[in-house]
Symmetry: C2
Subunit: 399 residues, 2 copies
């Protein structure tokens, strides 16, 4: 039990202890912090280690799982043993006195496509005459590189992007302007801490040797730009304008109670993707809200491909990992329509507008809309821990 006074149902109790990067609290410079309740423990002030006074978590994460565990055990002791209270309590800063920043450098950003329901929904919408799943889908976790440099922290506004909205009519110019189909994608992100060497593979069983923790991701998407540009080289401007991530990275160590068996798969897998010995399905319950109203509750536990399989695939060609890189699950969509993780699916590409409680319909996002993705998971302490939230407001396109 911690001596820190916690709000009821905080989700940020002693069994969570996520890491982030902040400014403020009466001291200068970027520092690493641990969230407990509605406070931030200043890791630099508490440990006096320079590695915790850096812009990103990367220089700490690079030290690997032993260092992560040692720090976690130390912080747990400090926050539970009354003998440390006098020294540590002055370094607890109320959350409202700090500004949270993007916690990692995002050396690479990979986005997968690992929800079968999502892939089938997209297939039915965009390729109605074909099998909704591409032929490779059951054999490998499809993924691609997104724009690392435009991943930013939750709360950063999203400017509606402009671009080519589709093919030209009558052989003229393609229509151009602000996207008319701005969407969110509710995803779960995984933060790589320990790097790998060029040429090395990271087997499924080594997932926790490299991945430090989990965050939430909103992969904002402009569906009209995307549909026109994506053949043959994949999504580009339809995604690259902005990606949002939550500020607190929840360590895998806090998610031990959330591990569940992998879902049934109907296709035999190559050895490098088999995960019987290392299932990394996670029972994370997501919620998506538009302007505060919950519009979907995607369950992460049903994802066909686990993050351990994603990492094994990402590195099977010998591509090296860097500290502070991010890979995300792809849109999390459950089997039921109230579990779908994008407006593309929820409004069936605009054909069936979502009715918000205030009576207004939504096909895609409007200027001023605020999208918030939050999530909880079973904690090792018996209750539920929080992954926090990733939120962002849509600003009008620039003239």
């Amino acid at each position: 039990v911690t001596w820190v006074e916690l709000p009821d149902d905080t989700g940020f109790g002693i069994d969570n202890l996520p890491l982030g990067v902040f400014l403020g609290g009466g001291r200068p410079g970027f520092r690493h912090g641990v969230r407990i309740g509605d406070s931030v423990l200043d890791l630099f002030a508490t440990t006096e280690e320079r590695v915790h006074q850096t812009r990103f978590l990367d220089p700490f994460l690079v030290d690997g799982p032993d260092a992560w565990r040692d720090r976690r055990e130390q912080v747990t002791e400090w926050l539970t043993d009354e003998r440390h209270r006098a020294r540590v309590e002055p370094h607890l800063i109320p959350l409202e006195q700090v500004q949270l920043h993007r916690p990692i450098g995002v050396a690479n950003y990979v986005d997968f496509y690992s929800s079968r329901q999502h892939a089938e929904n997209v297939g039915r919408l965009f390729r109605p005459d074909a099998d909704p799943l591409p032929p490779n889908w059951r054999h490998l976790p499809i993924g691609y590189h997104g724009r690392a440099g435009t991943v930013d922290v939750s709360g950063t506004p999203v400017v509606r992007p402009c671009g080519q909205l589709g093919p030209p009519a009558d052989g003229g110019l393609p229509p151009f302007g602000p996207t008319r189909r701005l969407d969110f994608e509710a995803e779960v992100g995984f933060v790589v801490g320990a790097p790998s060497e060029p040429g090395d593979r990271v087997p499924v069983t080594d997932f926790a040797e490299h991945v430090f923790g989990v965050c939430l991701v909103n992969d904002w998407s402009a569906r009209d730009l995307q549909a026109w540009e994506y053949v043959p080289l994949g999504p580009f401007l339809g995604k690259s304008f902005h990606t949002s991530m939550s500020p607190w990275i929840v360590p895998l160590a806090a998610l031990e109670a959330a591990r569940v068996p992998a879902p049934a798969r109907d296709t035999e897998l190559l050895p490098y993707l088999r995960d019987e010995d290392s299932p990394w399905s996670l029972d994370l319950a997501l919620e998506v809200a538009i302007n505060g109203e919950v519009v979907s509750r995607p369950p992460f536990r049903d994802m066909y491909w686990t993050p351990a399989q994603q990492l094994a695939h990402l590195t099977v060609n010998g591509a090296s990992l860097l500290p502070g890189e991010l890979f995300a699950s792809g849109t999390v969509s459950g089997t039921s329509p109230d579990q779908w993780g994008s407006l593309l699916e929820l409004s069936w590409n605009g054909a069936e507008p979502l009715q918000l409680a205030d009576g207004s319909p939504r096909t895609f996002l409007e200027d001023g809309d605020v999208v918030t993705v939050s999530a909880t998971a079973p904690g090792v302490g018996g209750g539920r821990i929080s992954l926090g939230e990733v939120t962002g407001r849509v600003l009008p396109a620039r003239g």
Copy 2:
């Protein structure tokens, strides 16, 4: 005229002065250098400015075009005016005494697809029943994000990647192993120096306000992995194992004499892509050699989309630019078969093996092969300047 003794036909005379990053020469730490002849001018030793004693050029490039021009004028004066010789000459280090390193951080890496001949060749090979050019090709420079973290400097060996080689036969497992279709792609890369703000667009006319210079890129590709994985989200493991870049970044200022009018285009462009007022076609003559034997001479001047159009497209959705990011042209292929920039094209997907002078045929690359891409351009001094080379040897797959 410089007082530095230059080899005949050096290509690195006083009208070139590319920037790079090196170790060695009897002093500790990474430093920025300027190549002149077969020597490197140590910029940190000469200027005593800390910005030139950093791992990458990025902290210097971020200062923008005025700083780039001032430094270039200063270095030109030092290397031409005999009065500076006594002070500067001790900081000229013979090339063989230094190790060249990746010169930029590569915050983002984008690869385009801007040679019409290349796109048509690929279309004929992979989509024989369709129009070889995708319907969007004439309306926008197609591009995608590559893996920034596996871009490395020329000379770094390339381990043959493993992966899924294609669809399963008879409903079993996909074939798995070392790629059988390892290829090169001869490309030209553009290094962004000055960043842009999220939401801003960089018009075609502002190209030189953001782009510092030019390098050579080999976008190594595993064609079997790529063909199986790339629908619907684009190339991933078929490219992400390794990308090579040349060590010397040739400033745009050195390429003024290489600027040529844009090629004729048969389709009207949206205003943001029109480049009548700012043509950035460049007359770069590329050479590709396998084990020292020239197998192709791709001309860059015929590229359909210029780098200024690529940058305008990349940012039209408001995606911000970071210092030290890289974008590349895509494979440079001219109209004649001896000008094609990949083995996929040169061997027509393996159907017409290339005969090397030693009598051995090449469909795709073999272990031990060394691929070298080099290039020259008209210099402002009347002769030709060199862009140096990007080279790499293929190592066998890891067991």
